[in-house]
Symmetry: C2
């Protein structure tokens, strides 16, 4: 992986290491499944059509529906499911006062959303050396395919996604675009096979659900050991598990009439649930090489959760029927990575989280993204960190996690 040569912005007072971002997003190009599915499936797999949309309001949310007399946009269609991209998830290049709520078509998006060469150019201008991208249309851990009825086709779609992400997206990017695979969530043995197939070609990350129970799947506490083949394959191949906020298709808020800012303020709650699950589950104790990363949940709340977990662990009344942990829960933070984009509270507590456990993200091309001014954000915290800490947090820890 050769580092680009763009100098640091003149506003940055010292040389800032080039960033490895472990939470960005790819907008899958319209040709993905038509090009990468085996020929016999190409007619039935996901494809993009142009059609109008109308907005339905459901509990305060705008839901676009295909058809009607509204304007046109691009629709992904597959089985009986039609879906279009939301502008706020592909708004790179637009100023905040140009944002809108509602669909966005490919020709309205910045090319870096879906084109690997354009993406690398956008990374160059933002001091980002490498980027791990979550899927968009398949959702954060590929739950789209777990929800479809034809599971043979769905497996082929998962594999086509992974082939595309390795061959075409990461492709000839010289390591700048790091592949993140999805797996057939509905079958942990098939998932394990996919982990091994991709490990052989150098893929070391898999997207998984922070709350699989909310997807109708067994939880990581499942007493029958449902996920053991998957966890074992990840452990054995050095494949890290990445869980994005919302990857349980479950958003928590205080009430339906709360302002949108309240809901946005609370997106870390499902990450806090997931971290509690993992710390008490015994999975990290059983698989000591397994590493997990919580994406976009930020980190300022982790020390509180871990400290409290240790106190509860010390009281036998809370053990229940769960596995007995040989060490206090916070011991297993060494297998957990927390990903932030802007979180001074978290950095102030970096010793409690573990300086080796913190990774960074730019969240391109979502509305939360700091692109193209991520260095301005870095400048707000760089002076509080030593050179070694800054190098670890901006790139070194991510390189370890992803085996770059």
């Amino acid at each position: 992986m050769s580092q680009p040569t763009q100098p640091n912005s003149p506003s940055i007072p010292r040389s800032i290491p080039w960033i490895i971002s472990v939470d960005d997003h790819v907008i899958e190009p319209p040709h993905l499944w038509e090009r990468w599915l085996p020929a016999k499936w190409r007619e039935q797999g996901p494809r993009v059509v142009r059609d109008s949309y109308t907005i339905e309001w459901i509990q305060g949310n705008q839901i676009p529906r295909k058809g009607g007399d509204g304007p046109e946009t691009d629709w992904w269609v597959y089985e009986d499911f039609a879906w279009c991209h939301q502008m706020l998830n592909a708004c790179a290049g637009y100023r905040e006062d140009q944002w809108w709520m509602g669909p966005i078509a490919f020709d309205q998006m910045r090319e870096g959303c879906y084109d690997p060469k354009a993406r690398v150019a956008d990374m160059d201008m933002n001091h980002v050396e490498a980027s791990l991208c979550f899927p968009t249309y398949p959702r954060f851990c590929g739950q789209l395919f777990a929800e479809r009825s034809d599971k043979e086709l769905a497996l082929a779609c998962v594999q086509a996604y992974n082939d595309w992400t390795v061959e075409e997206w990461a492709g000839d990017s010289d390591g700048r675009l790091v592949p993140l695979q999805i797996v057939p969530l509905w079958d942990p043995w098939l998932a394990a096979d996919e982990i091994r197939r991709n490990a052989e070609r150098g893929v070391h990350g898999v997207a998984f659900s922070e709350l699989p129970g909310k997807l109708g799947l067994p939880t990581i506490h499942d007493p029958s050991g449902h996920w053991e083949p998957f966890f074992g394959a990840c452990n054995d191949t050095g494949t890290a598990i990445f869980m994005h906020i919302g990857s349980g298709s479950h958003w928590l808020t205080s009430s339906p009439d709360a302002p949108p800012a309240v809901t946005a303020n609370l997106v870390f709650l499902t990450s806090a649930m997931a971290l509690s699950d993992w710390l008490f589950s015994g999975v990290l104790a059983r698989y000591p090489s397994l590493r997990v990363c919580f994406a976009e949940g930020q980190i300022g709340w982790i020390p509180y959760v871990a400290e409290r977990a240790d106190v509860l662990w010390s009281k036998s009344v809370w053990a229940g029927d769960g596995p007995s942990l040989p060490e206090p829960p916070s011991h297993y933070l060494r297998q957990v990575y927390g990903c932030f984009y802007d979180d001074h509270a978290g950095l102030a507590l970096r010793e409690s989280i573990g300086v080796d456990q913190i990774v960074f993200e730019t969240d391109y091309p979502h509305q939360d993204s700091t692109w193209p001014n991520t260095l301005d954000t870095v400048a707000t915290f760089a002076d509080a960190l030593s050179d070694t800490e800054l190098e670890k947090i901006l790139r070194g820890n991510a390189a370890t996690l992803l085996r770059l």
Copy 2:
């Protein structure tokens, strides 16, 4: 209020200020409503009867049912509702290895649970000067009475509770037991009347719900201004609003099969929801004398939530139809108090929370309580604080909040 004379424990290296705890619990004595309701209601109000119980298992939880061929315990009965105390909520004086899951009768409890003189003696031995107690049988904000059908009787029960807590519980305790009122949650005008009635006799705290929407009541965002009479009365009389975890009768967990420790680890989530609600609601901006306190939610997560709230406030897309806040959300932390019992992460970030906004609790007689060894907990953090900070956090801030 005269301070008791018990010296500090010899294990405490410097003189520790006597504690004012803003989150303890009273177990209402069996005679409460029979003595304090007007004569015409005494037959119909809550009373205690002795009866057997049987345990039903519902989604992994043990629910005691009145009757059957099990052992006897004490039952509160009122209208069609029968309820008994849980041992883990009245376990003061029992060692952890003596705890049990299930009902506890009055004659199995330590007298300090329900008797004010015995309570003060238990406070003496724990270096606690004053204590604010939440209700138990009426639940954390008196929602029991909001759920009953005869609202005239329910209002009389609320008033009887408040008369008892002022006259008999706080009674002749010389200020050691600080009254916390409940209000008729179903009618904000009656609630305002009750706030004013009790303010005239020196009551400066009211128990309220962290998530009233989860109780089927309007939220604090209600566009018709449902709670304005109540908020106005609290603001005008200097009555602080106390919201205990669980006061929305709503507990969040990751999944039904998660170990009990996961659920216990996540009890702060509803406090985080409530803090987000209050910071964005505009209520604190409209009522600048209003002060709110989150009880038992601890504090280590507050800096993250407040920091993130400020970022969201700065982005117009998140404002929605909510009130526009003249200042960033964290500005209003000066009207918010966070209550902790054991939280080093929170104390490390005390400057972000505000050293004047942190209060302390002993949680007597719950299983989480640090009684009778609260000074051992204090010893784990006292050295990290200045004398001024320690005085504020252990007693000074609570005295300000409660106008003692």
